[in-house]
């Protein structure tokens, strides 16, 4: 929820500069002082929402808004971006005809790199600007994962999410809920 604070109009100098008189005033209604932005992603994007956290000893960590999920099988490579609620938001798959017809194999390093690029592009198109990823220990030296992440970052999606804004410093005794 957002509370209203009507600004005292433009400064005098600015008003003096505006030679045009304001158009016919048809908008003389009272603005709702308790404005609600219905966009469910708004607070996350403003970094005001709290990151949901699981157990402290959860591995991989649950503290993220968007998580990257890479599935490398013998035949295909799938990339997904999941929201913390568990729903997939963006998907890319090396078997998609548009990707498949441009490559020899759908499961080698080149495929991983290009699926990463396509996923990165789709993330930006869906308004996801950063994702969280923890490489599982058995994938530590995987070249395909490395290529996938390289493709994703080259398209402009970093693999580190920004931290939520911390308001605790100003109010040490309060536990904030957002």
């Amino acid at each position: 929820m957002f509370s209203l604070r009507i600004s005292p109009g433009a400064p005098a100098l600015f008003r003096a500069m505006c030679t045009k008189a304001p158009a016919v005033v048809q908008n003389d209604f009272e603005i709702n002082p308790e404005f609600v932005n219905r966009n469910p992603r708004n607070l996350e994007q403003m970094l005001l929402a709290r990151k949901p956290s699981g157990w402290e000893w959860d591995l991989p960590s649950r503290e993220y808004w968007y998580r990257l999920d890479v599935d490398i099988s013998k035949k295909n490579i799938r990339g997904k971006v999941l929201h913390n609620g568990g729903s997939a938001v963006v998907k890319a798959y090396s078997g998609e005809w548009g990707i498949r017809k441009q490559m020899i194999s759908s499961s080698d390093t080149t495929a991983a790199y290009n699926v990463g690029r396509v996923l990165g592009r789709r993330c930006l198109e869906a308004g996801i600007l950063a994702v969280h990823y923890e490489r599982p220990p058995r994938m530590e030296n995987s070249k395909k994962i490395h290529a996938f992440l390289k493709g994703l970052t080259e398209e402009g999606v970093p693999i580190k999410e920004p931290d939520a804004l911390d308001e605790v410093e100003d109010r040490p005794t309060a536990t904030m809920y957002r």
Binding site: R5, F29, F35, N37, N84, A126
Partner: protein, 414 residues
Amino acid sequence: MLRCVQTKIPAFTRGLRGALPEVAKTLDERLAALHETDSEVDARVNIGYSKSLGRKQREALEKERRAELKTIQRNNKLRDLCSTGDFKIDLDLVKTSWRETDFGQHVLLSADHYNIVRDLFDFGYFLPAVHLKVDFPLSNDECSPVHYGNIISCADSASVPDVTYPADPGHLFTLVMTSLDSHLESTESEYLHWMVGNIPGNDISKGTTLCEYMRPFVPKGSGYHRFAFLLFRQEKEIEFSKHRETIKGTCLRKRTFRTIDFYRGLEDEITPCGLSFFQSDWDDCLVDFFHNELGIKIPVFEHVPLEPVEEKFKKYPENESFNEYIDKFRDPKEIAEDIYCRRLKKLDPFKEEVPETKYPHAHPMSLKLASWIRAEQTQERERVGKFKHMKRFSLHPEGYKQPYKKVRVKVYDL
């Protein structure tokens, strides 16, 4: 030598860590409870077109693709390129193929994530059957495209966008642009930004304009708002003048709109078939628009967090140092004021401030002092904690380096 092994029961301090793991719910359980849905109550109805290939068509397509794959795999040039590891495929080709196949599911996934379909059509949903391509023109050959949730600055969306979609010239369409979040009076309503009806094929200029284009606007401080472009296919020509008057100008009361009501009124004649949406944030270029065109003062909003839970002050707290505990309950601004006053006492307005000492702990502290005073003094010497306000004022943040300046040295021959 005997060793005394002290067996200590691990402390499960419930106040700090919550309930025990067997008792407490996991994050998954808590999230499931939060997003609990009833399969009967929340069931959705498909109000769009169900576009799926028949079995024979699908099989024919697969056969065709298999044949094409064989020719691709015989392509030795491509094989050499792919073996390098960083061969880049053409993303535009991927996109054109995506537009023909599974863009609808992807757009719907994203739209559900942003809760767009629910806010527009309540319990109805539709799989976009037509790819709606919307571009806001910027200059001669630049544009900012609308996809499915991307963020576009308010400065870029000032002029009428170019809308294209694949369509037969014989069909009729209606295009609607609404803002889902920026209604200033009630949260349930939307503002109608643009509406064109009876569009033959995809030539928008030939349609009848039912609502003139108004640029998207966002009040200051209220975050990211969603704006949606919707395409409806008409069964026949509709006389919109019966249902609604044409809107010109920027009267917001007249532009108040609800997509669900509009759709319910014409349910039998229109079917939604295209969707694309974007998000926008406050931009300074809107000052002029608010003052001159809307004729209202700029509303500035502040985020109101939910009521925080305050810790109660204990007279005899356990395991707390008393000075830190008292400071915890003081107003942080008051503490900052105290520290600033201490710093100002040291300053002389006519002299330059003494620079920070390089070795703050050079002088030994008196051991006669109480331990909490010594702890505070170390903090003060290091300028950390509440003593961060004692730092010497500087315009530049910490770690700032003066940009390197080239100094010309003149050399005179004597």
